[in-house]
């Protein structure tokens, strides 16, 4: 694998944070203020996409920054996984900015300048994680992301936000300081390096019980991945404005969590060592697999019982994240390809669902599923988008979701773990069970049940265009999955 020096990586990470300056300066003119976010998002998309061809040629783009302490360096490095994640984050940032404008203005939210500032900061942190070339850089941007999203989660500054924000910090900052930091230090003292190489920082070390503990500390320490029992922050964080839930809690933040878990498996421990770790009879990787499988099933069951639409989506996200974790810990190339692809595929589907949930709230002020019977008459386009998004999350054609799920399922067959095959399939059924009734009831209901009727009254244009875009993209990803498939494939081959 050839390594290419690429200063653009730094530029890409810095663009969102530099956009803060004009955003703050032009805070009195909202149209101008938001155009900076859009401009920055567009610029990052173009730059990120310009790097794709070389990554697809299996080139490794690197950008060492500086040594912050002897032997520990801040460095950027992008491979297939980082590239895929960066594409997802920047494209959806652009769409979400459009959506934010519609949503925040329609609801006359306060503190919009602050909102857009921290949003940009969160994107910088996300891109930093995507491009991180070693564990320290990863940790730094992971923490920055936790901190920059706190004001977004607590945006409403009321009692509910306070409770949610507190939970958010306890789970996310608590685990990263309490588990990841010591685990990282132990790894550093043992190997003297934190650099990702594709083989694993710890590759070649004896699989001691201590490293098994470190492995579990790492996996559960990145609590943004929503693995049970450190998932509780995510449903709480749904008090945030919907664009925040959409981009951060379906895409950026939670995907950073699973991204880190994939990195832990493939780049920190390496596939071989991860497989070799054991505590006598029990293998740590089996523990993680079982917890992930448990999370998939239980979160789907909990999602069934939720009446709040965003809450249901949140539990659905928890389950889908564990798809990715389970896929990564199956340790077969196909499953890994599947879980990397699923980062992208799920993101487009789930963000569509969140956009629709927010659009319904903007248009008619309803948050609960039981209040949406017959709403398809009033908002047909919104509900069609919702349908497309739910198809993708369930994993049905013609949406991208089926492709990644196919790979995950084939991965379980490769690994010979039929129990997990059943978990994936059973969970898909549950997904159908918690999504289809919403869509069905929205369009087909008896006249007694009907709560909404025509005439058609879609939400404001800025709120309806984004879900249409992402719904179309979800379908396009089914027809043209080449970029995501290629990147996931490059990555899976590079770490075996």
């Amino acid at each position: 694998m050839t390594t290419v020096y690429e200063p653009l990586l730094l530029v890409i990470v810095l663009i969102p944070v530099l956009a803060l300056i004009p955003i703050v300066i032009t805070r009195r003119n909202p149209n101008l203020r938001e155009s900076w976010s859009l401009l920055a998002a567009a610029a990052t998309i173009v730059l990120v996409l310009s790097l794709v061809p070389r990554v697809l040629e299996s080139k490794l783009l690197v950008m060492p920054l500086f040594e912050c302490a002897p032997g520990i360096e801040l460095a950027f490095r992008v491979d297939g996984l980082g590239m895929l994640f960066a594409i997802v984050a920047t494209v959806l940032w652009f769409v979400t900015t459009i959506y934010s404008v519609g949503y925040m203005r329609s609801l006359k939210e306060h503190g919009q300048t602050r909102y857009f500032c921290f949003f940009a900061l969160a994107i910088t942190s996300t891109l930093g994680v995507a491009f991180s070339g070693n564990l320290l850089t990863l940790y730094l941007f992971y923490e920055l992301l936790s901190l920059s999203t706190y004001p977004l989660v607590t945006h409403h500054q009321d009692e509910e936000a306070r409770v949610a924000g507190r939970k958010y910090l306890i789970y996310i900052v608590g685990t990263s300081i309490g588990l990841v930091l010591p685990a990282m230090m132990i790894i550093y003292r043992q190997t003297g390096s934190l650099d990702f190489t594709g083989l694993g920082i710890l590759a070649g070390q004896a699989p001691t019980g201590m490293l098994g503990v470190v492995f579990l500390m790492m996996v559960f320490g990145f609590a943004k991945s929503g693995l049970m029992p450190v998932h509780r922050w995510l449903p709480g964080a749904m008090v945030a404005p919907t664009p925040v839930s959409a981009l951060l809690h379906a895409v950026a933040v939670v995907k950073v969590g699973v991204f880190c878990v994939i990195r832990v498996v493939t780049e920190v421990f390496g596939v071989e060592l991860t497989a070799a770790l054991s505590f006598g009879d029990v293998r740590p990787v089996t523990i993680v697999r079982c917890v992930a499988a448990f999370t998939i099933v239980v979160s789907s069951v909990i999602a069934l019982q939720q009446d709040g639409l965003k809450k249901r989506l949140a539990y659905s996200t928890i389950g889908q994240l564990s798809y990715i974790i389970l896929g990564a810990t199956l340790l077969t190339p196909l499953a890994l390809t599947g879980s990397v692809m699923h980062i992208g595929m799920h993101a487009f589907g789930k963000i569509t669902l969140f956009f629709c949930a927010g659009a319904i709230y903007v248009a008619v002020g309803k948050k609960n599923i039981s209040e949406m019977v017959g709403i398809g008459r009033r908002m047909p386009l919104t509900m069609i988008c919702f349908f497309v998004g739910s198809l993708s999350v369930i994993g049905l054609p013609p949406t991208g979701g089926i492709l990644s799920k196919m790979y995950l399922v084939r991965g379980t067959l490769d690994a010979g773990t039929y129990a997990f095959l059943l978990v994936y399939l059973f969970s898909s059924l549950l997904n159908c069970a918690y999504f289809f009734p919403i869509v069905y009831k929205a369009f087909f209901c008896t006249d007694e049940e009907r709560q909404w009727d025509g005439p058609v009254q879609e939400p404001p244009r800025w709120c309806i265009v984004p879900p249409v875009i992402t719904a179309v993209l979800t379908v396009l990803l089914f027809v043209f999955p080449d970029i995501f498939l290629g990147l996931a494939d490059v990555y899976a081959r590079s770490v075996q």
Binding site: C68, D158, R166, G178, P182, M185
Partner: protein, 505 residues
């Protein structure tokens, strides 16, 4: 014998003396001039500290370029005369003291003006003498001279603390009693050393003690000296005086005392451990090492837990200092190179962090009249700059990269892992988590909690920031927390790594 660079002539050779002499003489000038022209006191103080700061920077450059520098007071050769010596261990500490005191005096002008309607020159004279004492402690290479300077800094700080509000006189009295005991212990230890070796120069002591490792008198001397410095730095369970003294002092004084006093005491401990007794002697007794480490762990845990119970900002910070002292003592007694690097780095970073936090709290109580938690609601709107600096300082104390607090923890944790001191490692992590709780509780209150005017609805909050003369230094210190963190590589490579004695694992 010693191969250090003894400068023969030129004004550069006077730098080590100038660092200490300038604030010393300026103290008298301030006292005299201030008698008739009270308003010039602050200006003269700033000039004196600025010159001293420049001299200390000069010393640092000379040390980095040429290695340790020795200066003989009045030309008398040691062991008869007093030797000043700037090496890799204290060059940075000097800069920390001069820069912190300079920033703090510049910052606190308005506070001093409010606190002292008249006789401001008394405050500034004491302030300069305290700085002189701290600088002297750091630079001197003579064990007895060190004691004298410890007393100078102690006496001035007693006076500065006693000027405070409410219970300050009582707190200062408590501090006098405990502080005197600490100084006495130190003096007894030095007495033993002098009896056994006949010298007070630290380099000579090091050479002579090497043959006396079995001596009980030397062992007692070591124990007394360590106890003395621990009392002075407020290591648990000898910490009782510290929160009272620091929180009852006036903000103008505590912004100087809190960041520097404990750090200089830690420096004394390091100097005697590394230079006088040498690591091979200090770390030879494994059981003693274990005990001290356990003490440090308890200090960290107790300090953190006590901080949780406080309801005023300044008092909370003083308990964090108690925990931080535990960090540093523990780091030193891991007996590893990483641990010692961590302590030396933490002297710098903790001074900066503590300065930042005490300044932020001083601004808050200056504008809002007090520093209890009930002034917090709406503070991000009211005082955005101050709260931004406060937040950066808080992140540093929690240990979030790229602030300097993270890199302190990095080295201290490395030391803990290298020494297999898992309890110390757990304590460090625990303290980080407690700090996270402490500060996010405050951030949450300041960011989320609505402001209620008496009986009315939530009021519209107007921005009401402190004057620039206060906020600018504060923001500067907050930025420097990140700058120090980012420059860790340079600090460790250029200076700290040479301060680690050979033979430490």
């Amino acid at each position: 014998m010693n191969h250090e660079w003894v400068m023969q002539s030129g004004w550069i050779s006077q730098l080590p003396a100038l660092v200490v002499i300038i604030p010393f003489f300026m103290a008298f000038i301030v006292a005299l001039v201030g008698w008739s022209h009270e308003d010039r006191a602050i200006f003269l103080t700033e000039i004196g500290l600025l010159l001293s700061f420049l001299a200390s920077i000069g010393c640092l450059f000379v040390v980095v370029e040429h290695g340790p520098v020795s200066y003989r007071m009045a030309g008398w050769a040691p062991p008869m005369g007093i030797e000043y010596r700037v090496d890799f261990l204290n060059a940075l500490v000097l800069v920390v003291i001069t820069s912190c005191s300079l920033i703090s005096v510049f910052f606190s002008k308005a506070i001093v003006q409010r606190d002292f309607r008249t006789r401001k020159e008394h405050f500034y004279t004491l302030y300069l003498l305290l700085v002189t004492g701290l600088l002297g402690i750091t630079i001197t290479h003579d064990a007895f001279n060190l004691y004298v300077l410890v007393e100078i800094s102690a006496l001035t700080s007693y006076a500065l603390i006693a000027m405070g509000r409410g219970r300050a006189a009582f707190s200062a009295f408590q501090y006098v009693m405990i502080g005197t005991i600490g100084a006495c212990f130190y003096l007894i230890g030095v007495g033993y050393l002098y009896v056994k070796t006949g010298t007070l120069n630290m380099s000579d002591l090091q050479l002579l003690i090497a043959d006396l490792h079995d001596s009980r008198a030397i062992k007692s001397a070591f124990v007394f000296i360590m106890l003395g410095t621990w009392i002075k730095m407020g290591l648990f369970p000898l910490h009782g005086w510290l929160p009272n003294a620091y929180s009852d002092a006036k903000d103008s004084a505590s912004c100087l005392i809190a960041p520097l006093m404990t750090k200089v005491s830690v420096y004394i401990m390091l100097r005697l451990m590394l230079t006088v007794f040498t690591p091979s002697y200090v770390f030879s007794n494994a059981i003693a090492g274990e005990l001290v480490l356990a003490l440090a762990v308890v200090a960290i845990v107790v300090g953190s837990l006590k901080a949780l119970k406080q309801t005023s900002l300044k008092r909370m910070l003083t308990y964090i200092i108690v925990a931080e002292v535990g960090y540093m003592v523990g780091g030193a007694w891991t007996a590893t190179a990483s641990g010692l690097t961590g302590v030396m780095y933490h002297i710098i970073s903790d001074a900066a962090m503590t300065l930042c936090m005490f300044m932020a709290v001083a601004v808050i109580s200056f504008k809002r009249g007090r520093d209890t938690f009930d002034v917090l609601p709406g503070l991000y709107k009211r005082m955005p700059l101050t709260m931004a600096a406060f937040t950066v300082g808080a992140f540093s104390l929690i240990g979030i990269p790229p602030t300097c607090g993270f890199f302190s923890k990095w080295y201290l944790l490395s030391g803990a892992i290298d020494a297999h001191a898992w309890h110390y490692m757990a304590a460090l992590i625990f303290s980080s988590l407690v700090n996270a709780v402490l500060f996010f509780r405050i951030i949450e209150k300041a960011f989320i909690e609505p402001v209620h005017a008496a009986g009315a609805e939530a009021t519209v909050i107007e921005m009401d920031e402190a004057p620039l003369r206060m906020t600018l230094p504060l923001v500067f210190v907050a930025i420097s927390l990140i700058a120090i963190g980012v420059c860790t590589n340079y600090i460790v490579r250029a200076v700290i790594q040479y301060a680690i004695p050979e033979g430490v694992g």
